[in-house]
């Protein structure tokens, strides 16, 4: 019954995190609420005036929105792949961090598809996707895959929460009656009987096993939206695995940043320890190398074979007057920097790992932009258009406002979630701490 004692003391420690809003948190939340509201105003403008208010035009039909879509679905891999894999391999140190990882997954998977909706001109006809579906279209694949993935990742998060809901409902935290009733309802009457424990463990194992292929499908299908077309830079056979690896990579980066932030904010130094950053850092090096390999292989083949349109695209990416600086940033900050900083023991620390993670996440966003926009600016027939906005894409304030609104939504949802459940899973962490203390004895 040691675990129960440990969990009680853990819960007491986490209680302020759930029940109390510090001034800092209030300011943080208000700031992002304002950003979010500005985004909502931009949305209103876009809906009432049409897509004319965006920078998208007939040649560059997709822009920031699609880049954001890939980005958010990418970071959702934190919970799906990282947490799923670590669970399957029974890696014990995962336990304090799984909640944060799985929250990233669910929140990012809710936000990502919203950007697809922003690209749809006729939202009033969205139901056509279900009443006239065509299975040949990668968009239909995407709709099916993302819905499955979202449901799967919500269940995965929820299964890991049941024990905590049970603990919370019995703890008497002094939360409102309604909240307590909600905890009780969500705990599904879990009281940790051997039978319940067996069933819960089995379901979690199955979900962990299912969520990994589902996640891979989601990002592969997403990459095929590009890969299936006859456009330079998109029509590539490695796009599926390339996207999947990039997603795991950026997901791990976001996970590290989130761990660092929550650790600071809620004083979780005891639970989120150096080991987590180091191990995830090592993983980051491996992923970075793999992602770098894919990137190199992709651009080398396009450059070497020098097919007309591929060359045109490569020229734009290498030209400092066009996308050159961005391309350089995406590859230096997104591939080399993490390998160097984490690879050299002297430079490796919690803070440095968290910083390079933040930079690489940004670089990965730029990379997604570089996948979408330059290709669309490279038409097979000469463009011969005098309308500048048709030739070169440049995002408008509406698109930027909605981009930041997505980021705001991410932070706000995370904050709200942390006010509802402990950000470090109480049950799993107690189990982990118990095992650790047994070892030291």
């Amino acid at each position: 019954m040691n675990i129960e004692n440990t969990s009680k003391s853990l819960l007491t420690e986490f209680t302020p995190q759930i029940t109390h809003w510090s001034l800092k948190e209030k300011l943080w939340f208000s700031f992002w609420s304002i950003v979010f509201l500005v985004g909502m105003y931009a949305l209103y403008v876009q809906i009432t005036e049409g897509h004319e208010v965006t920078g998208m035009r007939d040649n560059v039909v997709w822009g920031l929105y699609i880049a954001n879509f890939i980005f958010f679905i990418g970071i959702s891999y934190a919970g799906a792949i990282i947490s799923g894999l670590l669970h399957l391999f029974k890696v014990e140190w995962r336990k304090p961090i799984i909640r944060i990882a799985e929250l990233i997954t669910v929140i990012a998977t809710i936000i990502g598809p919203l950007y697809i909706l922003l690209c749809v001109g006729r939202l009033d006809r969205l139901h056509h996707l279900f009443i006239y579906p065509r299975l040949q279209s990668p968009i239909t694949w995407d709709v099916l895959a993302i819905i499955t993935y979202l449901i799967g990742s919500i269940i995965f998060l929820y299964l890991a929460l049941i024990r905590d809901f049970s603990i919370l409902s019995h703890a008497g935290l002094g939360v409102s009656k309604f909240k307590n009733r909600l905890y009780k309802f969500l705990s599904l009457g879990y009281t940790n009987t051997p039978d319940q424990r067996k069933k819960l463990n089995l379901s979690t194992d199955i979900l962990a096993l299912l969520i990994i292929p589902t996640a891979i499908v989601v990002h592969s299908v997403l990459s095929w939206i590009f890969g299936m077309t006859l456009r330079p830079g998109w029509h590539s056979t490695i796009f599926g695995p390339y996207f999947v690896l990039a997603a795991i990579y950026s997901g791990t980066g976001v996970l590290i940043v989130a761990l660092w932030m929550f650790r600071k904010l809620y004083k979780l130094e005891k639970y989120i320890v150096e080991k987590h950053f180091m191990y995830l850092g090592y993983l980051l090096i491996v992923l970075s190398a793999g992602y770098g390999y894919f990137t190199f292989s992709e651009y080398l083949t396009d450059w070497y074979s020098s097919e007309k349109w591929s060359s045109e695209l490569i020229d734009k990416l290498f030209n400092l007057q066009e996308f050159g600086w961005w391309f350089l940033f995406a590859n230096v900050a997104g591939i080399l920097l993490p390998i160097i900083v984490i690879g050299i023991p002297k430079l490796r620390s919690i803070n440095s790992i968290a910083s390079v993670s933040a930079i690489l996440v940004l670089a990965m966003w730029v990379k997604r932009y570089l996948i979408v926009v330059p290709t669309l600016e490279t038409t097979l027939l000469p463009m011969q258009d005098t309308r500048m906005e048709y030739v070169h894409y440049s995002a408008t304030w509406v698109e930027w406002a909605l981009t930041f609104a997505g980021i705001a939504m991410f932070f706000m949802m995370f904050k709200l979630a942390s006010k509802f459940v402990p950000i470090v899973p109480v049950w799993e962490t107690s189990e982990y701490l118990d095992k650790e203390s047994m070892k030291t004895k």
């Binding site: 749809v120 709709v143 006859l230 038409t379």
Partner: protein
């Protein structure tokens, strides 16, 4: 022309212009399976051939705009039976007169800056001479745009045409990203429609009027074909650049001469643009050899704005 569209969609093939009968007419839904009885009132109507015909009042229904459009959209999804439309563009004759562009815009009530038919100035390599290249939709037999449409808003018909139903389109623009020829245009805002368009019953065959946030493109004017006429770009061209016709009949016409398609393609070494993409276009080009006009003629009478488009081609 509006008249013609109405004819297409009227169920009885009768002109329901006789307002007097409207009161007596019974409204039936198109799918209604109410048994037809011989008794009941009969009304006299003027048929489209100008004959007076007698029809049971119970079989009549008033043609509402909505219903006319529903029917037109349905008909527009089916190809014209027995046809296989094809176009041949003779690059040796084009001098960038742009009559095809304006005729197309007039026919489809498009504003000046929206060009379903574009004329590019092409130059294949450094040594070769530039030439004018009119580009319609290629109505590919293996259309990348149709493949990717998630809602069947763009479709391939039995007569070879690739059309769009802008009442179905959700505006995702995937077809635009997928089309390697940049053929499709999008209504980013409320479309500017020139006067007269409001009288046209929309169908994928008329493509008029435009709708906001939907995709549109060159449709090969199947509404003209139904009347046995050539598309407007073909008849408007002063130099007979465009040949339009039916592959099944093996004949194409540019308005002044009608020729055998197979002979034309063989003798003039026709090619399809970017054959290597595997899209199988239904538009053939005759190489710009033995040109009727020097390329410079194409710059005459062009507005500065349009001239500006071609500044990168030397």
């Amino acid at each position: 022309m509006e008249d013609k569209k109405r004819r297409d969609v009227l169920k009885m093939g009768a002109v329901a212009g006789l307002a007097a009968i409207a009161g007596a007419a019974k409204f039936l839904s198109p799918e209604s399976e109410q048994p037809i009885t011989e008794c009941g009132d009969k009304v006299k109507l003027l048929s489209q051939d100008g004959e007076i015909i007698e029809v049971q009042a119970s079989m009549l229904k008033l043609d509402t705009h909505d219903h006319a459009q529903t029917m037109a959209r349905k008909v527009g999804r089916e190809g014209i039976p027995g046809r296989k439309f094809v176009m041949v563009i003779d690059l040796g004759r084009c001098r960038n007169a742009r009559k095809c562009v304006t005729a197309c815009q007039k026919m489809h009530y498009l504003p000046e800056d929206k060009e379903w038919l574009q004329i590019k100035l092409m130059k294949d390599n450094e040594k070769s001479a530039p030439y004018w290249f009119p580009k319609t939709c290629f109505h590919c037999d293996n259309p990348p745009c149709v493949k990717v449409c998630p809602v069947d808003a763009t479709f391939k018909r039995t007569d070879g045409l690739v059309l769009i139903d802008n009442e179905r389109c959700i505006g995702c623009k995937f077809c635009m990203a997928a089309c390697p020829y940049s053929t499709r245009v999008f209504n980013w805002g409320e479309p500017e429609i020139t006067p007269g368009a409001e009288n046209v019953t929309y169908s994928p065959e008329t493509s008029v009027p435009s709708r906001h946030s939907t995709v549109e493109k060159c449709d090969f004017c199947p509404d003209m074909a139904r009347q046995g006429k050539l598309p407007d770009c073909v008849t408007a061209c002063p130099n007979g650049v465009f040949y339009f016709g039916d592959e099944n009949e093996d004949s194409v016409s540019n308005g002044s001469e009608t020729v055998r398609l197979s002979t034309l393609l063989r003798d003039k070494a026709a090619y399809r643009y970017m054959e290597e993409l595997g899209t199988k276009p239904r538009v053939y080009y005759l190489p710009p050899s033995n040109r009727m006009f020097p390329v410079e003629r194409g710059f005459k009478n062009l507005s500065e704005e349009i001239k500006e488009r071609y500044k990168d081609v030397h």
